[in-house]
Amino acid sequence: MKIAVFGDSFADYKPYTHLNYVKDCWIHQLEKNYEVSNFAESGSGLMFSYNTFKNQNLNKFDKIIFLVSNPRRLLINSKFIDNNISKHVNPYKTDGHLNHIKKASESYIKYFENDDFLSHTWNLVLDDIRQTLGDRLLLLKVFSNSTHVYLKNAKNNFFDNDDNTALYSISMYEDSYIDKNFKKSVRKSNTWEHFKVCHLTGTTHAFIYRKINNWLQGNEFSLEDYVQYIQKNLKLPLVELDSYVN
């Protein structure tokens, strides 16, 4: 089965290849069992993924997994891309970009961006993806609607997961669970962050992979039981963490 994946850091393990845990990542597991073309790029926004999507021959793929990231993230024009820094800019958030580039994105949002039109085009883009692919598509939201407060009139019915099961919400839940339940040194240093791949622990990757694999076999998709799964199964690589801290 041929699978294409579009999205952001929740599907792009390239920045984590130096970690042993990269093999736990859901997309890595997917690659072991299927023929996967992964077009996801860390830090990218919806329009980058949509543009990449529009430029593929989608007939080549049996199933497509599309992770919908932040529509405000911007791609720098090729003429100005510096290979040492990310070509994707998240206005008000991304560090490392030259000041004039960051300032240009922030000024645009402050003075010109129109929330209603952004919501309108977001709806049209997601509707187009859905209409193009039908049931070949698994459309996952990365962020909950509360994260996109500027998407005033964005529709929610395109997705296969909801606000509670948005990938970022799951990552946040993991963080709070680790905070409450793991030993102090780990909590305080926040070093466990360095042992996550694509913002998730190996335990949650196994959960997500199982769910996606289930969907690929023709079954329903749902991430609803992630809380119970994490509570029951979450393990951190504490030995490695200790050596990292020390």
Partner: protein, 264 residues
């Protein structure tokens, strides 16, 4: 009998409000339509596609109208957001900004000369130009432009006359051509260009909606025919080609000569 209710949306090709000082404004197609129909004209000169789409999404009850004439302007034209515009209305005067993307030499030019009229416009014009310089991705806007026009067409159906003001150009124009969505084969801008070739001295300031009265007559006839029969066609064959022999008889020319006698 109750008059049909007509809604007009678009940019300067349908906005007559900034040309009311011209005596022949009454010969323009949007004003002529008012004689026989109940017309609401929300077109704004300099506005982009975003502005017109937002009008039907937020402010206008489209079900109140029998027919809608939508002059689709450029996607790239931007508008200051409400908060910014409301705060600095006095200084800015005019909320729309235009930036043209020149694909060949990757230069970004402000085409809206009004940007240079005051400091506030210069400031915001510069901010927009910087944004397009670093981030404007031509193919993204082509995808979105196409999706927006397709959506308008699907939502408004037979009620809609969708006229393209400009032809799409550039590398991605073919891939995302909207020619099959719009109702005119020749863009309104092309008609204006034709006039400019024939009479370059006859400035836009002496025309209404960039066109001389003879072209307004032609458009008016076609639009009325569409309202009454549902049929519309506007091709390059409709452009008045012998204007070079007749334009000196036009009201626009006479007005122009009054102001600039050296051309007579």
């Amino acid at each position: 009998m109750k008059k049909l209710k007509i809604l007009i949306l678009g940019d300067s090709f349908a906005d007559t409000s900034n040309r009311t000082y011209l005596p022949f404004v009454n010969k323009s197609w949007p004003v002529k339509l008012q004689k026989n129909y109940d017309v609401d004209n929300f077109a704004e000169a300099g506005s982009g596609l975003l502005h017109s789409v937002e009008m039907i999404n937020r402010f206008i009850k489209i079900e109140d109208y029998d027919k809608i004439i939508f002059c689709a302007s450029q996607f790239i034209r931007q508008r200051l957001n409400e908060a910014t515009f409301n705060q600095a209305k006095q200084q800015i005067g005019y909320k729309h900004f235009s930036v043209t993307f020149n694909e060949k030499n990757t230069k970004y030019d402000e085409t809206d000369r009004k940007i240079q009229q005051n400091n506030a416009r210069i400031k915001y014009g510069r901010l927009l130009r910087n944004f397009t310089k670093y981030f404007y991705i031509d193919h993204d806007s082509k995808y979105l432009n196409y999706l927006v026009l397709k959506d308008i067409k699907e939502r408004l159906g037979d009620k809609l006359l969708l006229l393209k003001c400009f032809d799409d150009i550039g590398k991605y124009a073919k891939q995302f051509s909207y020619d099959h969505i719009v109702d005119n084969k020749i863009a309104l801008w092309k008609i204006c260009e034709h006039e400019r070739r024939i009479a370059p001295e006859l400035l836009d300031a002496f025309k209404v909606c960039h066109l001389v009265s003879e072209h307004h007559d032609m458009l008016y006839e076609k639009i009325v025919s569409w309202i009454e029969t549902g049929n519309f066609s506007l091709t390059k064959e409709d452009v008045i080609t012998d204007l070079e022999h007749t334009y000196k008889d036009t009201l626009e020319w006479k007005e122009f000569i009054k102001k600039h006698p050296k051309f007579s």
